[in-house]
């Protein structure tokens, strides 16, 4: 049997310390925690930085280093620093050194770097080693070389290679959410379908149970399947909560693709062992003919300046859409006149907050609110241009009348200056897999005794 202790869904979200201590006392074989995802958008991968505060990350990571030492087992993080670039692996390595120094401990640290050379990936496109996934964008060599960062998602093989260095702590760049949990059970010969399925169920910690915020979860793997055991006092797993986790952030609740194959849980059976633990058997792992890893890439899509105004005058709130439509026409003419820019050179949106700014054309509601926010988003080729276009918008949002006949109105600005430069806007531009001859081909392992 292989016991994997999962403190929470992500480092930075905190965990229940009493439940973690309970897990440590059960002698886990490994502590695994996820460090990121694409879910907060392309900016983190584009810049190669973490979403979570360094102070939270350090405090929680230090607690996990101590927990792993007390349990006598390795500690593994996947997708370190939100996006799993080389820079965020190094960021967490620095934090790890600080934690070890403050604790007065030494440890062997393995780093698994997952960042890709854009020229190598562009060459792989040429040689037919890249394949698009469903709903992938069209790409060419320029798309690839235009990326700020490209990462490949490591699977169980690369995590196992890092563990085989004898590391006490593994800091991995981008991995699949499941790989850090599935690697050791797979290596020990536990049931392969169970290893991947249990890893998927456990990847967000106690999100597969009641009281999902409690975080801490133990998953026990063996030759036939796995057992889910949430460790917080109030958390309970039921067959429904466990099965339902297959729905989470997953387009298909029965099939999950991983490097080297896919998991099919169609025939899985979920059984309550008592009122907190659930037993799962019957999931199947299918080995693929080729070994492929998913790629993620982010590039700069332009530079943005935003403005915010609020409209409280009932007449303007009632006619807000006509008002912003008129502003957009007049502003475009002014940008053409003053800057010589045409519609294809930049974009400007005026989103009506309180009316349809979230859903756009999908909005069906028609309640007139007390006020409307006007969120202006300018995207242009460089920051100076975006700011200049924003400055040309400013007078309209302050004083533009619905009709020429009425007195000049004035609207509310929360800030001075009204223009806020947002810096680069990034976009995800790869949704592809890269075929490898050997799982380690796209990955680099480092060992540091600290």
């Amino acid at each position: 049997m292989t016991r994997i202790l999962i403190p929470s869904g992500a480092l930075g979200l905190d965990y229940d310390k009493a439940a973690l201590a309970r897990g440590v006392a059960m002698k886990p074989d490994l502590i695994a925690i996820d460090g990121g995802s694409t879910d907060s958008g392309p900016s983190y991968l584009g810049r190669g930085v973490s979403k979570y505060a360094r102070s939270s990350t350090k405090k929680e990571w230090k607690g996990l280093i101590e927990a792993a030492r007390a349990a006598g087992c390795p500690l593994v993080i996947g997708t370190a620093g939100t996006c799993g670039t080389d820079s965020t692996v190094d960021w967490l390595l620095d934090i790890t050194r600080e934690c070890l120094a403050e604790l007065g401990h030494s440890a062997r640290i393995a780093t698994l770097k997952c960042e890709q050379d854009a020229d190598v990936i562009a060459a792989a496109l040429d040689t037919g080693r890249l394949s698009p996934l469903p709903a992938a964008p069209e790409i060419d060599a320029q798309t690839i070389t235009g990326c700020e960062h490209i990462v490949a998602l490591a699977g169980a093989e690369q995590i196992m290679a890092a563990l085989e260095t004898g590391a006490d702590i593994v800091i991995a760049g981008r991995t699949t959410d499941t790989a850090i949990i599935a690697a050791l059970p797979l290596d020990r010969g536990d049931h392969a379908g169970g290893a991947w399925h249990g890893a998927k169920i456990g990847e967000c910690g106690a999100l597969c149970a009641s009281n999902p915020q409690s975080g801490v979860l133990m998953v026990e793997f063996d030759a036939k399947g796995f057992t889910v055991n949430p460790l917080a006092e109030t958390a309970k797993a039921t067959p429904e909560t466990v099965f339902a986790h297959m729905l989470y952030e997953n387009s298909d609740p029965f099939v999950l693709h991983e490097p080297g194959g896919y998991l099919d849980v169609t025939n899985a059976e979920y059984q309550a062992l008592d009122d907190t633990r659930v037993r799962v058997e019957g999931s199947a792992w299918h080995v693929a003919d080729t070994y492929a890893v998913k790629l993620e890439g982010a590039r700069i899509a332009g530079y943005q300046t935003v403005l915010m105004a609020t409209v409280r005058d009932r007449h303007y709130v009632a006619n807000a859409q006509a008002w912003v439509d008129d502003i957009l026409v007049k502003h475009a003419a002014k940008v053409a006149d003053r800057m010589g820019l045409q519609a294809e050179d930049y974009s400007v949106e005026l989103r009506l907050v309180g009316m349809d700014s979230t859903l756009g054309t999908l909005e069906q509601g028609d309640v007139t609110p007390n006020e409307a926010g006007v969120l202006c988003i300018v995207t242009a080729a460089d920051q100076q241009t975006a700011n200049e276009i924003g400055k040309l918008m400013n007078p309209y949002l302050l004083h533009h009348p619905l009709t020429r006949e009425e007195e000049q109105p004035t609207f509310s600005f929360p800030f001075s200056p009204a223009e806020i430069d947002r810096g680069a806007a990034y976009e995800f531009c790869l949704h592809h897999v890269l075929r490898l001859d050997d799982p380690m081909d796209a990955f680099r392992l480092g060992v540091i005794d600290a």
Partner: protein, 100 residues
């Protein structure tokens, strides 16, 4: 007829990676599941979401009383014209549809 959100226990939506969106309707019990499963066609979902019905993946899971709807994101997550980074609000579009 009542809105789906009034009959179902919960409707949620989220990204399934940057290129896909997934909506889960937790009906709550077999009666509500049958009512929503039969009273919400995939074509109506497609119209409400301005999506091509042929791109929608739908799973009616009686065991969980859940209907899951997945579709390619209308704009890729984080694109300049994306209004909803985490895909949170598509659930409301479905929750506010009436059951036929």
């Amino acid at each position: 007829m009542p809105e789906i959100g009034k009959v179902a226990r919960k409707v949620r939506s989220k990204n399934a990676g940057p290129f896909w969106l997934t909506i889960d309707i937790f009906c709550g019990d077999p009666k509500a599941f049958a009512q929503i499963s039969q009273g919400l066609s995939t074509d109506r979902v497609a119209t409400a979401l301005e999506a091509d019905a042929s791109t929608i993946k739908r799973f009616d899971i009686a065991q969980l009383n859940v209907i899951k709807i997945s579709l390619p994101r209308p704009v890729v997550q984080g694109h300049a014209s994306d209004r909803d980074m985490h895909g949170a609000a598509w659930a409301s579009v479905i929750a506010e549809l009436e059951i036929n």
